[in-house]
């Protein structure tokens, strides 16, 4: 615990260490710290700017989206209208076609009926002639009684 040269030795080494620290340690570390501070400040400013730009872009996207939606709705409405029109048209065509078919069938049926009636009349005529022949016991000449027969057939 004596005071001796150690005191001076320590003072000298202290001075050397402080001056070395002053020269080689402090300045580079502080420079790096300052630079990083600036960098961070710059980055924060950039980030803020970016956020602003993003907000603007988002607003733009929003309007575009709305436009697109409106357009889509319009297109859908148009398509629906056109579809309805097509359906109506087809309905009308189908109806008229059906009616046409029905009319054709009816006229055919009527024709058939007329033909059948004609056949029937002829057959009834011949049956009547045959029946009359049997009743009279002699052959009835169809040709000589043609007028009577035609009257008869006409009454049927």
């Amino acid at each position: 615990m004596n005071i001796n040269l150690t005191l001076i030795g320590q003072a000298i080494s202290f001075a050397i260490f402080v001056s070395l620290c002053m020269k080689y340690v402090w300045p580079p570390v502080m420079t790096a710290l300052r630079e990083r501070q600036d960098k961070i400040a710059q980055s924060l400013a950039d980030a803020e700017q970016g956020a602003q730009r993003r907000e603007e872009a988002e607003a733009e996207v929003e309007t575009m989206l709305q436009d697109a939606k409106a357009q889509a709705a319009e297109i859908v409405a148009q398509a629906q209208k056109r579809g309805n029109e097509i359906i109506d048209e087809s309905k009308a065509t189908a109806r008229s076609e059906g009616e046409r078919l029905k009319a054709a069938a009816q006229s055919e049926i009527e024709q058939e009926v007329v033909t059948a009636r004609e056949d029937l009349r002829k057959q009834v005529g011949s049956i009547a002639v045959a029946g009359a022949g049997k009743i009279l016991g002699s052959e009835v000449n169809a040709e000589s009684h043609a007028k009577v027969l035609d009257d008869l057939v006409g009454q049927l």
Binding site: T6, G9, A11, S13, F17, V18, C21, M22, V29
Partner: protein
């Protein structure tokens, strides 16, 4: 060095006999054990032995001022170099980009010191901040040696023929006063540089008492000089002795704990070491803060 070898046989005998854990039983008494641990490795000119290493405190005292504590100097310079090495490495890698772990650590401490300097020191100086950094880290490292178990290094040193080894430089009053007087020299230098000799004298002579009356003032000047002079001198002495006292007391308690049986030591040494972690950091911080305050006072005009 020839002297060391002549004393060595006697010394080896001692070490062989002395079980360090229970030194009170074998070669050394408890008192001898404590004294041995508190003795520096002194190298100097002895009146009888000439240039030699002192064996025991009496020989060391006989050497007077012209002797040097080899162990204190070795550990303090070694730790100072360790500080510079670590921080230089961190500083070399320092970039403004993403910092690595070492750079982070170095920056953390540098920023901590820088913040304290900024808060306390208002002048502009290239010296104060690096000075504070050096003091903080260096003193902390020197104090940290206190946490190495007290017997390890002295025992190993004895085995290789070094009779004494005190590994905590801050338990050496020369070391702490050497630093505090350096700080004091800087105080005086900056006081003279910033305030001029006249300004500095005025600060010492016209405070705390002053009077508009010239005669009364003339009476006050010597009183002021005495008061301010004592206050000024007290600064480096209290600065150095505060650190020394704290560390010396802590070391002594570690030595006393080491006298207990080895299986019981942990019960006291662990809590004390944990508490001491706080003390060593705090003492390093106080030394740094007071240095900044003194530098700030030297730079301020009144």
């Amino acid at each position: 060095m020839s002297d060391v070898s002549t004393h060595q046989p006697k010394f080896d005998e001692e070490t062989l006999k002395a079980d360090v854990m229970a030194s009170s039983e074998a070669g050394r008494t408890t008192t001898e054990y404590i004294q041995h641990h508190l003795q520096n490795l002194v190298f100097g000119v002895h009146p009888e032995n000439g240039l030699s290493i002192a064996h025991g405190s009496e020989e060391a005292a006989a050497m007077g001022f012209w002797a040097i504590h080899l162990d204190s100097m070795f550990w303090s310079i070694g730790l100072g170099l360790l500080f510079l090495w670590i921080f230089k490495k961190g500083a070399d890698k320092a970039t403004s980009g993403v910092p690595g772990p070492l750079q982070n650590f170095v920056e953390l401490i540098v920023e901590f010191v820088d913040e304290n300097v900024r808060e306390t020191f208002n002048g502009k100086s290239e010296v104060v901040a690096p000075l504070a950094l050096t003091i903080f880290v260096w003193v902390f490292l020197m104090n940290l040696m206190d946490l190495i178990p007290v017997d390890w290094i002295p025992y190993a040193a004895e085995r290789i023929g070094i009779p004494y080894q005190k590994i905590v430089p801050s338990t050496d009053v020369n070391v702490t006063l050497g630093m505090s007087f350096s700080v004091f020299a800087l105080m005086i230098y900056y006081s003279l540089k910033i305030k001029g000799a006249g300004g500095f004298f005025k600060e010492l002579a016209f405070q705390p008492f002053n009077s508009p009356n010239v005669l009364v003032q003339a009476l006050f000047v010597p009183i002021n000089l005495l008061l301010e002079g004592v206050a000024l001198i007290a600064k480096p002495i209290s600065l150095g002795l505060r650190l020394f006292g704290n560390m010396y007391a802590g070391e002594l308690i570690f030595i006393l704990i080491a006298l207990l049986p080895f299986y019981a030591q942990w019960a006291l040494s662990v809590p004390w070491a944990l508490f001491h972690i706080l003390v060593i950091t705090l003492q390093a911080f106080i030394f740094m803060m007071l240095t900044i305050v003194y530098m700030s006072m030297a730079h301020e005009h009144h």
